[in-house]
């Protein structure tokens, strides 16, 4: 059989080196047949993971993937294609596909392919690489599974979980109509561990998890123990009346709850200036000014409590995205005031008269306060403590009112102490309301927000670590609407 894949391109770790990535990128440049703007990306990923359930490892895997993407714009028409093969025939094929699409659509300018190159070099780069993560062995992970499952088994409980270490590389190269070339190569690692411990009858559940770029920053045994403690603490839940409660949200719950502020799941990103969705169904806009046909944003207006600041700095070693245009530092909310929204380069050029763009990204830091978690509980006369949510859904885009359910432990706090486990609730609440009703903020901490791969490989500069750092918060009048049966 004809050698269809130059195996030597893949290192022992299953990823492509800078040199090999550049060789493929150069090959793509050579194979171009048209004059135009081209953008290539060559990414590779390796992952090793172990799943367990019913107190035994259920699957232990090792996966490698590669992706070659070609975008081109010829005579105004845009085209793109992708393959995971890197032999010359396949590279030629993927180029021809993109070129043919471009020609077919000539004179139809593709909206988001830049006419000129943006300059990446000024974007700071964060540390997103850990040797510990990449050198993690499957035997080490299996050891953790032994520990976690034995712990649960001794208590007649069932443990399930997941440990993953993975690494990704992406090289990209662009060429404009003047044959100016811009090239970059980045790499990142990710480690994650999550553990669920359940009662065999399905009557109680506890969860703990963390995703970081570095395994040294994840205490897997502590997570296993924590999920078990939570399971035990959530046994024999009582049913209490729905209503409004003073509520403490653990950091994981906070991250899930405020997520729709950055991604409400609709096709017109709510945070974008110059987009189409600036009517009453956008929480960041006052409405549309018909005379200039432009949305009037709430930038400069106070939208939440003044103790709330949410920002993203790529140089923040805990947050990490990779260098790319539009991914510089940004403060979305500064002391309660809306200060940042996203916009495209087209908008920057046309409306702001500058070559700038601000992209959406899924990692952010929400500043905390100085109340300890124990102090929060001790200072609560009567309230609820939420671990996590499930299936949160925005029901009113204008206010970001959401519904969803609590899971993996919900507790009643009485007289400054966690008094009993309670049945999970369906909630109806908006992060914008809740962040206006904050009583206390705890210390900000990273939570479980794994980078979904390999599907997002082409977007991984924007997502990179997807890390979220948030404090636990205590809010007043959090709205619980119905008791549910699930654990």
């Amino acid at each position: 059989m004809k050698q269809i894949y130059p195996e030597s391109f893949i290192s022992d770790h299953g990823m492509m080196s800078k040199e090999n990535t550049e060789r493929i990128l150069s090959r793509l440049h050579e194979l171009r047949e048209r004059q135009g703007i081209y953008r290539f990306s060559v990414s590779s990923a390796w992952g090793s993971d172990i799943r367990w359930a019913r107190n035994r490892a259920s699957m232990t895997s090792d996966r490698r993937t590669v992706q070659v993407m070609v975008f081109c714009e010829i005579a105004g028409g845009g085209g793109s294609a992708v393959t995971n093969q890197i032999d010359s025939d396949s590279l030629k094929g993927v180029l021809q596909s993109a070129e043919r699409q471009s020609l077919r659509k000539a004179d139809q300018r593709a909206v988001d392919i830049p006419m000129e190159l943006s300059h990446v070099s000024t974007i700071p780069r964060t540390i997103t690489w850990s040797d510990t993560t990449i050198n993690r062995t499957v035997e080490e992970s299996a050891n953790v599974v032994q520990y976690a499952t034995s712990l649960a088994e001794e208590q007649d409980l069932l443990s399930a979980g997941y440990i993953e270490s993975h690494g990704m590389t992406v090289g990209s190269s662009s060429i404009d109509i003047y044959d100016r070339v811009q090239q970059s190569y980045s790499a990142m690692t990710q480690a994650q561990c999550s553990s669920t411990v359940r009662h065999p009858q399905g009557t109680a559940s506890g969860w703990a998890g963390l995703a970081r770029y570095d395994f040294d920053r994840i205490d897997e045994k502590a997570l296993a123990a924590q999920s078990m403690e939570k399971c035990i603490a959530s046994l024999n839940p009582v049913r209490i009346e729905p209503g409004r409660y003073t509520t403490i949200l653990e950091p994981q719950a906070v991250a899930e709850f405020i997520h729709p502020m950055f991604d409400s799941g609709d096709s017109h990103p709510a945070m974008r200036i110059g987009g189409e969705n600036h009517g009453p169904s956008n929480p960041y806009f006052l409405g549309r000014d018909q005379s200039v046909s432009r949305g009037i944003s709430k930038i400069g207006l106070k939208i939440v409590d003044e103790r709330i600041t949410i920002s993203h700095d790529p140089a923040d070693s805990e947050l990490g995205i990779l260098a790319a245009p539009g991914l510089g530092p940004v403060t979305w909310i500064d002391k309660g005031v809306l200060t940042g929204l996203t916009y495209t380069r087209d908008y920057g050029l046309v409306e702001l008269n500058e070559d700038s763009e601000v992209h959406r990204r899924m990692s952010f830091r929400m500043e905390g306060g100085n109340t300890s978690f124990d102090e929060m509980i001790a200072g609560t006369q009567r309230g609820l403590l939420i671990s996590r949510f499930y299936k949160l859904r925005v029901v009113d885009r204008g206010s970001l009112l959401m519904t969803g359910v609590t899971r993996d432990g919900l507790w009643l706090i009485e007289d400054g102490k966690i008094s009993k486990a309670v049945r999970n609730f369906r909630i109806n609440e908006s992060p914008l309301f809740a962040l206006n009703n904050v009583e206390q903020l705890g210390v900000a901490t990273p939570v479980y927000r794994p980078f979904p791969w390999p599907e997002l490989a082409p977007l991984f500069q924007q997502h990179a670590l997807s890390q979220v750092i948030v404090p636990p918060i205590k809010v007043n009048d959090f709205s619980f609407t119905a008791s549910i049966d699930a654990i």
Partner: protein, 532 residues
């Protein structure tokens, strides 16, 4: 093809301007393929065998190799053309599973993958013993060797892309000009050549096709806008003909008119309470998929998805099969992976099992679970009790060979009522109640309770008299299926493909679900816009 009105004009212009250009391109404008070996080529079998040999000599009790070559053409997608090859090797050593995959097809890589998979499995064998019993491959029609192709008429991957794109542009033009709607049309065509081989002598190859038409559009009426989509072109195992041969223009026109008629009903806030409720066939497919479909995946019920996609309210399938009441006696649900054009239809599943039809819910009682080979092995005692041989129903599935196969929902069918009732005729029998059309479902982590939300209507004296905003139906799963009082007839049934998610890393799978409208005696309707 994300048409805004503005872009649409450009497309129209381009269709004329591009004619001269497209002639020279036409001959070569099928979706590109670098030269590849046919999946049945013995050269590829040799690669799979190389992995099995290494796994076998390294001590695997069982091993399988999967290779697939997948092409996707997404009309209006970015990128529209995708190609991938993957190779996965799975081994069982002392009850523990190991897996390794990569995009490289070669004998050397086969050996590396087998060794990696063995190491992965062995990493766990130092600890506690694990028992895995794979159900035998002994069923009727269980061919171990063969080739099969999805029956199609027009292969989207040999047609010219202009023809496909022009087809969608033509429909979009019609939708704008003749139906007055704002279209957002597109489609996904998938072709997957795949090979499965195992240490049990299985060697099967398949060429699978899937087609999905997305005909989403917005309808404006009296200053309001509603987005809707055809539900007649959801994923099916078929070629381009699946979309081309449907009366799309009529369907779009009818749906636009239906939507406008619904929009002209007065809008009222919800009056929360318990009501007799009619659900249309579309809504019932969502419900079936998300409640019974997901909850009867055996791996979920056993807790294998406890840290990932969710578990099941069927907490003890060994005792509950045959006894647990899932719904009222009118409810019978069958499952299969072999119905013609079904989204989950294959000749062999990802363990080389020939799937067969089975009964999940019989006269309201839980009758069986959806299984792969290990799952069926786990249920051996149940099957013995019923004097059946344990055999996988063929629910093993992975999106490609880079993923480990898991138990995914088969195509599901609800048994229609004996009468001739339709959604409208069922609504016609309700004095005071609620009706839901085209609604989706959000379940809790155990599929035991959920929220049904979508287009809701007040029904009075057999007529839908107003639209309700900000409402949803809050339900407990067994309670809902137990409160069925009427079921639509055969003619009212609809088949719609649904997606479900599970696994770590997460992946999804589509399956066809055939539903009929139903009437619920009493259901709780809530105000989603009101807080406690």
């Amino acid at each position: 093809m994300l048409f805004s009105r503005r872009k649409f004009v450009q497309v129209g212009v381009n269709l004329t301007a591009g004619t001269a250009l497209s002639k020279q391109l036409l001959a070569s404008s099928t979706v590109h393929r670098a030269a590849r070996h046919e999946i049945q080529d013995p050269i590829i079998k040799d690669i799979g065998d190389a992995a099995l040999q290494v796994a076998n000599s390294a001590g695997a009790v069982y091993a399988d190799a999967r290779l697939d070559h997948t092409y996707e053409y997404v009309v209006g997608g970015r990128p529209p053309e995708k190609e991938s090859m993957s190779f996965g090797v799975r081994v069982l050593v002392d009850g523990y599973w190991g897996f390794a995959s990569s995009p490289i097809w070669s004998k050397e890589e086969a050996a590396r993958l087998a060794r990696a998979a063995i190491r992965n499995a062995r990493a766990n064998t130092v600890g506690k013993a694990r028992h895995a019993e794979l159900a035998p491959l002994s069923g009727v029609g269980q061919e171990l060797v063969g080739h099969w192709s999805t029956p199609i008429i027009d292969d989207p991957f040999t047609m010219s892309m202009e023809e496909i794109d022009d087809f969608f542009q033509g429909i979009a033009t019609y939708a704008v000009n003749s139906c007055g709607v704002n279209p957002n049309f597109g489609a996904t065509f998938l072709k997957q050549d795949k090979l499965f081989a195992s240490t049990l002598g299985q060697y099967v190859t398949q060429q699978l096709y899937q087609a999905t038409g997305n005909f989403k559009f917005s309808v404006q009426h009296k200053g309001a806008e509603v987005v809707t989509a055809l539900d007649t072109t959801t994923t099916a195992s078929a070629g381009f003909e699946y979309i081309r041969d449907q009366p799309l223009r009529d369907q779009i026109k009818e749906l636009a008119e239906e939507t406008r008629a619904d929009m002209s009903l007065p809008v009222v806030p919800v009056d929360v309470g318990r009501y007799e409720t009619v659900l249309d066939a579309n809504t019932v497919t969502s419900l079936l998929s998300e409640t019974i479909g997901v909850a009867t995946e055996l791996d979920r019920a056993l807790g294998y998805e406890a840290n990932a996609g969710g578990t099941s309210y069927i907490v003890n399938p060994l005792e509950m099969i045959g006894t647990l009441r899932i719904g009222s006696p009118e409810l019978t649900v069958t499952a299969n992976r072999n119905e013609v054009r079904g989204a989950a239809t294959v000749q062999w599943d990802d363990e080389g099992v020939v799937p067969r039809e089975f009964i999940l819910v019989k006269d309201g009682l839980l009758n069986d679970m959806q299984t792969d080979r290990e799952g069926a092995g786990f249920l051996e005692d149940v099957y013995k009790r019923q004097k059946m041989t344990s055999q996988s129903y063929g629910c093993s599935y992975a999106p490609n060979s880079g993923f480990v196969p898991l138990t995914h929902s088969a195509n599901l069918k609800i048994k229609p009522g004996v009468g001739n009732e339709s959604f409208e005729s069922l609504v016609g029998q309700v004095d005071k109640g609620i009706a839901f059309k085209r609604s989706g479902v959000d379940m809790d982590y155990q599929q035991s309770s959920g929220l049904l939300f979508g287009q809701a209507f007040n029904v009075k004296n057999g007529k839908r008299i107003s639209r309700i905003v900000g409402t949803a139906l809050l339900f407990r799963t067994p309670e809902l299926w137990n409160s069925i009082t009427a079921i639509g007839g055969q003619a009212s049934s609809k088949r719609i493909a649904k997606n479900t998610f599970k696994g770590q890393p997460a992946r999804d799978a589509s399956h066809s679900v055939t539903g009929v409208p139903i009437v619920l005696k009493e259901a709780t309707v809530i105000d989603t816009l009101r807080k406690a």
